[in-house]
């Protein structure tokens, strides 16, 4: 396979491939170990820790069983799904028009608005004022809005999306305007169909954020019926760590490490499933259509 390379190129290619192989191993080995740990039976683990390889029929689902059969697991999963879907929808609903408007160079006060947005990025208001606003002023304790609304517009995402919209040739928008379309119609009919990659990319960023969000639910959602998956998983793992202070046997099916690993994989799973579907948009060109200059 290296015949087509010159000698100096071959060396370079080997170096690059060796580097990429190391990067690959650095990612795959820990992930593989997490997977193996999550499936390691308790008796095997207590005898010799996690083996690097196990035959599938030796795997134990004890850790998954313990997590999935937790009485509040279904409710917590549903809550996380609601927050993720609702939050992502709201975030895109707000981010897209804002980014589109800011991408229009003729927008009056554009620089000031961008500067103000950047200001919130550089100078974070802090926990206590946010808590006062969300919990006291708005009264959103025990309400998903407390988790969804404050981070609904991500500055980085707005800027990325804005740059993408700026890259759409003005000729396309102008042609629509000549046909009588107003700004909203241009956005809906022209810009959005051309922006699938960026919408899905930013949407994934938002979805991952909401899915993994731990702090806000912990802070604002006291009602256990509103508990989210990250909060629940953390509680389970912390509980395992303090098992000697508890009078009952909290873990009979799996080791603490297996539970931790299973929790990590369960949390990752939805995003891992979604990612391949969206990935092609990450790598696809930034324009689905266009015109020749």
């Amino acid at each position: 396979m290296f015949k087509s390379f010159r000698r100096d190129e071959l060396g370079f290619q080997l170096l690059i491939n060796a580097f990429l192989l190391i990067v690959l191993l650095a990612i795959v080995i820990p992930l593989w170990r997490v997977i193996m740990t999550s499936f390691t039976p308790l008796d095997v683990y207590m005898k010799g820790g996690t083996p690097m390889f196990q035959l599938p029929w030796q795997w134990s689902l004890g850790a998954y069983e313990q997590l999935l059969t937790h009485p509040t697991f279904p409710r917590a999963t549903l809550n996380s799904i609601i927050i993720t879907l609702g939050g992502t929808a709201l975030s895109l609903f707000l981010t897209i028009p804002l980014s589109y408007a800011l991408s229009t160079r003729t927008l009056p006060g554009r620089r000031i608005i961008i500067a103000l947005i950047l200001f919130t990025f550089l100078f974070h208001v802090g926990l206590i004022p946010t808590y006062l606003l969300v919990a006291k002023t708005l009264g959103w304790s025990n309400n998903f809005l407390a988790v969804i609304v404050p981070p609904a517009v991500g500055v980085t995402n707005v800027l990325v999306m804005m740059r993408f919209f700026e890259g759409i040739p003005d000729e396309i928008k102008e042609s629509a305007r000549i046909d009588g379309a107003n700004d909203l119609q241009v956005l809906w009919s022209i810009v959005l169909p051309l922006s699938k990659p960026i919408i899905l990319t930013i949407g994934l960023f938002y979805a991952v954020y909401y899915w993994n969000e731990f702090f806000s639910p912990m802070l604002y959602l006291n009602d256990q019926n509103l508990q989210t998956l990250p909060v629940l998983l953390r509680s389970i793992l912390i509980g395992q760590n303090f098992s000697e202070y508890v009078d009952v046997d909290v873990s009979q099916a799996a080791s603490i490490e297996s539970l931790k690993s299973a929790a990590v994989l369960l949390t990752m799973l939805p995003m891992v499933l979604v990612y391949p579907w969206i990935q092609r948009y990450f790598t696809k060109g930034t324009l689905l259509g266009g015109v020749k200059e």
Partner: protein, 576 residues
């Protein structure tokens, strides 16, 4: 394309509709209801005179299961009082009680209180949540002053901010609880700030529960005796390391195992060595006349020399300074250690012991009495743990909810509250044997036993507000089990042995404030300690003197000692 956009918009709208529907309604503003004066006074009148004073209650002998009667519900206020309490749960892996929990219903029926229990996250997250609520003056009615460093210091901070209320007036309303839960003045007065009782100090979760254990089967195999001194312990550890005590033909055992718990010096796990020389704690409580850091005493250095000898001889797991507790608890069931320091339940609870038992059915751990080192007094270790600190928010007290909180706490100490919140429903979740000990034997549905994982939600407050560490209670909480070869593994036996060893009382250490340069001081202390212990730094008069000199010159330990001494003298712990 436009159809797709419309479809997406409809989906977004539906999602929001779902979202709104699933959000819990915002709780109604608290409408405080002040119970009639007769309600509180009737309870107060039955309180012993001594309990009504503003200082901690006088000590009474340890109690057996509560015998007080349930507060009479006859004087309940007309309108129910809403109470929200925030506590670290007993089983954080289990959920909070469900809305239809019988405890809520009973409390509503008997006390006319709408109780809402919120499980605080453990660690820094719980503290952050509490801090945020405090900053917004939105603290719950009754709460644990959670802190990653000191719950007492958190109480002091909240008191400075004027967010907690004195509870002196509530004590006479709960005579039973004062006798059963607040009967240790040395602990209870820790919540007394400037002469006012600003909170409660609950019962600790079994004090003096850890200890030193040794593999008896290894001792027997090698024909060794139980060590009684540090030198004998070192000799036994050498044999365990070099004479293949498990007989597998491999050099895979260490005499001693343990890990550094991140505190000071060697940490609690190796404090038994310093205990043998009378200085197991960071502070030299055993010599009030020369109170200060133990590291300044000659006994501390003698113990350190022994610990260094253990390291030099390679008879201790060399990873002790880097592994954590989880790793340690993987290693000892694998039979790597012959001597270790462990929590009695982590060692001998059925699930924990099974991990060792499966590998070594004939293995046997037995407790080791407190070792002797120098010629002075010896201890197993120091104990300074107290129970959780709880407080009543000023907002709640101002709203007149104090008596309701007292009534609730008193009911929790009554037989009805104690058993219901501590074990569940009699006949369903537990039974009482002929000696009055809670048992799960004979339950019609063992899956409903109070010890079953599925029932943990219903007793989430048991370790925080319910249990009193009465012997019968401890027996129920920590039952015996049988090993693979039929031996009885008694958790109680380990606990009784450990708890009755000579321990150094360091509870007054809860009063000590951390120095402003705590991180630097502790780093300097620990880095030097480990360098001496691991042999990377010579341990002689000169290096030791340099270390002590650096403690003052580099990290100002002398000032911390002087401040601490004055603080303890002012608090009456040390004589002036």
């Amino acid at each position: 394309m436009s159809k797709k956009i419309v479809l997406h918009l409809v989906l977004i709208a539906l999602t929001f509709a779902l979202l709104t529907a699933c959000a819990a309604p915002t709780p109604e503003p608290v409408k405080p209801t002040v119970p009639p004066a007769s309600s509180s006074s009737s309870v107060a009148s039955s309180a012993p005179a001594s309990s009504s004073s503003s200082v901690a209650p006088t000590a009474v002998p340890p109690t057996v299961a509560p015998t007080a009667t349930t507060p009479k519900p006859t004087n309940t206020p007309e309108k129910a009082v809403d109470l929200e309490i925030w506590l670290i749960p007993t089983s954080s892996q289990a959920p909070a009680p469900a809305d239809n929990w019988i405890g809520y219903k009973t409390i509503k029926d008997k006390l006319n209180i709408n109780l809402k229990y919120v499980a605080l996250p453990t660690g820094a997250d719980g503290e952050t949540k509490l801090n945020a609520a405090a900053a917004a003056n939105a603290l719950p009615d009754f709460f644990e002053t959670v802190s990653t460093t000191s719950e007492r210091n958190k109480l002091i901070d909240l008191n400075k901010q004027g967010l907690v209320a004195p509870v002196d007036s509530l004590l006479p309303m709960m005579p039973t609880r004062v006798k059963t839960h607040y009967n240790d003045p040395s602990s209870f007065t820790l919540a007394n700030i400037d002469g006012k009782q600003m909170g409660f100090v609950e019962k600790p979760n079994l004090p003096r529960r850890e200890g030193l254990v040794i593999r008896k089967d290894w001792l027997d195999k090698l024909g060794l005796k139980m060590p009684t001194t540090v030198d004998e312990l070192i000799a036994v550890a050498k044999a365990f390391t070099t004479q293949d005590p498990d007989g597998n033909g491999k050099n895979d055992t260490y005499g001693i195992g343990g890990f550094f718990d991140g505190s000071w010096g060697g940490g609690q796990r190796f404090a038994f060595i310093w205990g043998a020389y009378g200085v197991p704690d960071l502070w030299n409580w055993g010599d009030p006349a020369n109170f200060g850091l133990s590291v300044r005493t000659p006994e501390f250095r003698q113990a350190l020399e022994k610990f260094r000898a253990i390291n030099d001889a390679k008879i201790i797991d060399p990873d002790w300074a880097t592994i954590n507790r989880d790793e340690f608890r993987i290693r000892w069931p694998q039979g790597r250690y012959g001597i270790m320091w462990e929590d009695f339940s982590a060692l001998s609870s059925p699930a924990n012991y099974a991990k060792f038992d499966v590998n070594f059915p004939t293995g046997e751990w037995v407790p080791v009495p407190a070792l002797k080192g120098g010629s002075g007094k010896n201890y197993l270790a120091a104990y300074g743990s107290v129970g959780i600190f709880t407080a009543v928010s000023k907002k709640s007290m101002d709203a007149g909810k104090g008596p309701a909180i007292a009534k609730l706490l008193e009911w929790m100490a009554s037989p009805e509250g104690y058993y219901l919140l501590g074990f569940g429903v009699e006949g369903v979740n537990y039974k009482l044997d002929k000696d009055g000990v809670v048992t799960t034997e004979g339950l019609s549905d063992p899956k409903l036993a109070w010890t079953d994982a599925s029932q943990q939600a219903n007793t989430q407050m048991r370790n925080q507000l319910i249990y009193i560490n009465d012997p019968k209670e401890v027996q129920a909480r920590y039952p015996s089990s049988a090993s693979k070869n039929g031996r009885t593994i008694s958790q109680m036996a380990f606990y009784q042995f450990f708890s009755t060893q000579p321990w150094l009382d360091s509870i007054p250490g809860q009063l000590i404030l951390k120095p402003s340069n705590q991180a630097d001081l502790q780093r300097y202390y620990n880095e030097n300690f480990q360098a001496f212990a691991l042999g990377t730094k010579p341990l002689n008069d000169q290096t030791w003197a340099d270390f002590l000199k650096g403690l003052d010159a580099n990290v100002n330990a002398a000032k911390w000692e002087a401040d601490t001494k004055k603080l303890l003298q002012d608090a009456g712990v040390l004589k002036k």
